[in-house]
């Protein structure tokens, strides 16, 4: 039988099921474990943490989770791990991992490959001065218009530096910001030695990455298709791809785990966060999702083939986070009878009081949870609701106004409509708003580098 590479996915975001990585290496044979921690919002949180503590700025969960995974890396199973846990401090993450590993058996075998070079925060002024506008991809505004409020700036790096780390013998690769899909594509390119211009096979690797990068969303989690019959979700298995040399692959999960892998569920994940399906942009290849063939391949197995790809552009996507004012959200719960009418009256009262105070907000936004919060005017509301939660939020640049708003919720308990409860959580918290600035930059200005560290 020709070679198959088995890659297991163990995290779909920072905060995903803590048990999953260990279960993925213990539940059956796998060659690689891929762990995705970085959503856009995560980078700015990590950058803030690093500003307070230069040793922080990476996904701490990774270190804890690796305690359960390291035996599989260091013993005869020789599982390799590829994770973007480095956040804005990949070297700090690697140091913490090495520190933890020193107590483990065979720790001398650990070779941590660290990918750096995606962090553009220290280089923004230099890049702007050199004529890189980094214009907002949707509005076209130049980055200079929010320059003084930038919190983090990272390029989405592709597979190349991860491949280099693996080629240099790394058995754990820690990156900062890279494309989620590169975490899967890179091990495949390394194992099969796919040429960098073999667009169809590279695109297959990207599609495999897209299917598993959100963890259990491809194995029955958050699945709308016949959801109530999906078995044993409390024991859900995370996805595994078994990839052949030609790029075709099977999506599956470990035997004995819960959830379900079928064509409908995999299709749901394929269309998740999809733009133009003919052009799924990555730094390594542009994948076409309109040629993919899916076929059932036995219980909890879906075969994926016929993926086409075309060459990538000369630009890299960068994600910039910047401060954009403040917000706060407060809630109260109104009980039957007339729950919705009472919640609406409370909303009117709060707005009137805020207006009387002369406070200015960019937006005051109200939802009635239990009636309109999820589908708004599309929902049909029954005459009698047992309860409704008033959820009112404000946003704006004047922090003092937002703080004053947070004092206007609780008074409704004694000064507004009756049968109100659900205020025990206390005053709402004022949060800083972190906005996103997606942009493109010439590939040539990003030069990722790789270092290999040992205990």
């Amino acid at each position: 039988m020709s070679k198959l590479v088995r890659i297991a996915a163990g995290q779909g975001f920072w905060g995903d099921w803590l048990e999953a990585p260990r279960r993925q290496v213990e539940g059956g044979p796998v060659d690689y474990l891929m762990l995705d921690y970085l959503a856009e919002v995560t980078m700015s949180i990590l950058q803030k943490q690093k500003q307070r503590d230069p040793l922080a700025g990476y996904a701490r969960d990774f270190i804890t989770q690796m305690e359960g995974v390291l035996p599989a890396v260091l013993d005869d199973r020789r599982v390799r791990v590829v994770a973007n846990a480095g956040g804005v401090n990949p070297l700090g993450c690697a140091d913490a991992l090495l520190e933890t590993a020193r107590g483990a058996a065979h720790h001398e075998k650990l070779r941590v490959g660290v990918v750096t070079g995606d962090d553009l925060l220290p280089r923004i002024d230099e890049l702007i001065a050199a004529g890189h506008e980094m214009a907002h991809m949707e509005t076209g505004a130049p980055l200079s218009s929010v320059r003084d409020r930038v919190l983090s700036a990272n390029a989405y790096v592709g597979a190349a530096p991860i491949i280099e780390a693996l080629a240099r013998g790394a058995n754990v690769v820690v990156t900062g910001r890279c494309t989620d899909t590169a975490l899967i594509l890179a091990p495949l390119m390394h194992e099969f030695q796919w040429p960098v211009n073999d667009w169809d096979r590279l695109a297959s690797g990207i599609v495999a990455g897209h299917i598993v990068e959100c963890g259990a969303q491809s194995t029955g989690g958050n699945c709308a298709y016949d959801w109530s019959t999906i078995p044993d979700l409390e024991n859900i298995g995370f996805p595994i791809v078994e990839v052949a040399e030609d790029g075709s692959f099977v999506v599956t999960k470990h035997p004995g785990t819960g959830g379900r892998v079928d064509v409908h569920g995999v299709t749901e994940q394929l269309v998740y966060e999809m733009g133009d399906p003919k052009q799924y942009f990555t730094p390594d290849v542009i994948a076409d999702f309109t040629t993919i063939k899916l076929a059932a391949d036995g219980k909890d197995r879906v075969r994926v083939s016929n993926v086409h790809g075309t060459p990538p552009t000369d630009m890299l996507k960068i994600s910039i986070a910047y401060r954009d004012g403040y917000k706060a959200v407060g809630t109260l719960v109104y009980a039957w009878p007339d729950a919705l009418a009472k919640a609406k009256e409370a909303d009117r009262i709060i707005r009137a009081r805020l207006a009387k105070l002369g406070l200015e907000f960019e937006l005051i936004y109200t939802e009635f949870v239990g009636a309109t919060a999820t589908h708004g005017p599309l929902a049909t509301i029954p005459d009698e609701l047992p309860e409704v939660q008033l959820r009112i939020g404000v946003r704006g640049n004047d922090r003092k106004a937002i703080e004053r708003f947070t004092r206007e919720i609780a008074p409704l308990v004694l000064t507004g409509p009756p049968h109100v409860t659900g205020y025990a959580g206390g005053r709402p918290k004022v949060e800083e708003v972190v906005a996103y600035w997606p942009a493109l930059v010439d590939k040539s200005v990003i030069a990722p580098s790789v270092s290999i560290l040992t205990t």
Binding site: Y272, A373, H375, L378, Y436
Partner: protein, 118 residues
């Protein structure tokens, strides 16, 4: 015949900036042409008219028996800025499944489409 999308399709949605994407997938492969013909860009734009601020774009994935819709101005500024409960467009999927389309009786019967009575 009136047909509700919930009864002939399933869906998953997500976000990108202030854009929501909704992937709409036929429950049975043979129903995909019904989605193509009746769940038009215009029909979906009309459905979400009071919910989103921008336009709607539609893409076809006949290989997956799926349509992909992009809803612009759907998230009150985007994931971290918005004050919405559904900050990341997770439930736009089921909001689309509320849509009721009108399919000529003969066609609907030939395909075994379930009628929506409400």
């Amino acid at each position: 015949m009136r047909v509700r999308l919930l009864d002939i399709a399933h869906a998953r949605s997500g976000d990108k900036g202030d854009i929501a994407n909704v992937g709409l997938i036929a429950l049975e492969d043979k129903w995909y042409p019904v989605l193509v013909r009746y769940v038009t860009r215009e029909r979906v734009a009309e459905h979400f008219a009071k919910v989103i601020k921008g336009t709607v774009e539609r893409f076809e994935l006949p290989n997956l028996f799926a349509l992909n819709f992009l809803l612009y101005g759907a998230l009150g500024g985007g994931g971290t800025v918005t004050l919405r409960t559904d900050a990341q467009a997770k439930v736009y999927s089921s909001a689309l499944l509320r849509l009721v389309i009108e399919v000529p009786d003969a066609e609907a019967r030939a395909l075994g489409l379930p009628e929506y009575r409400a």
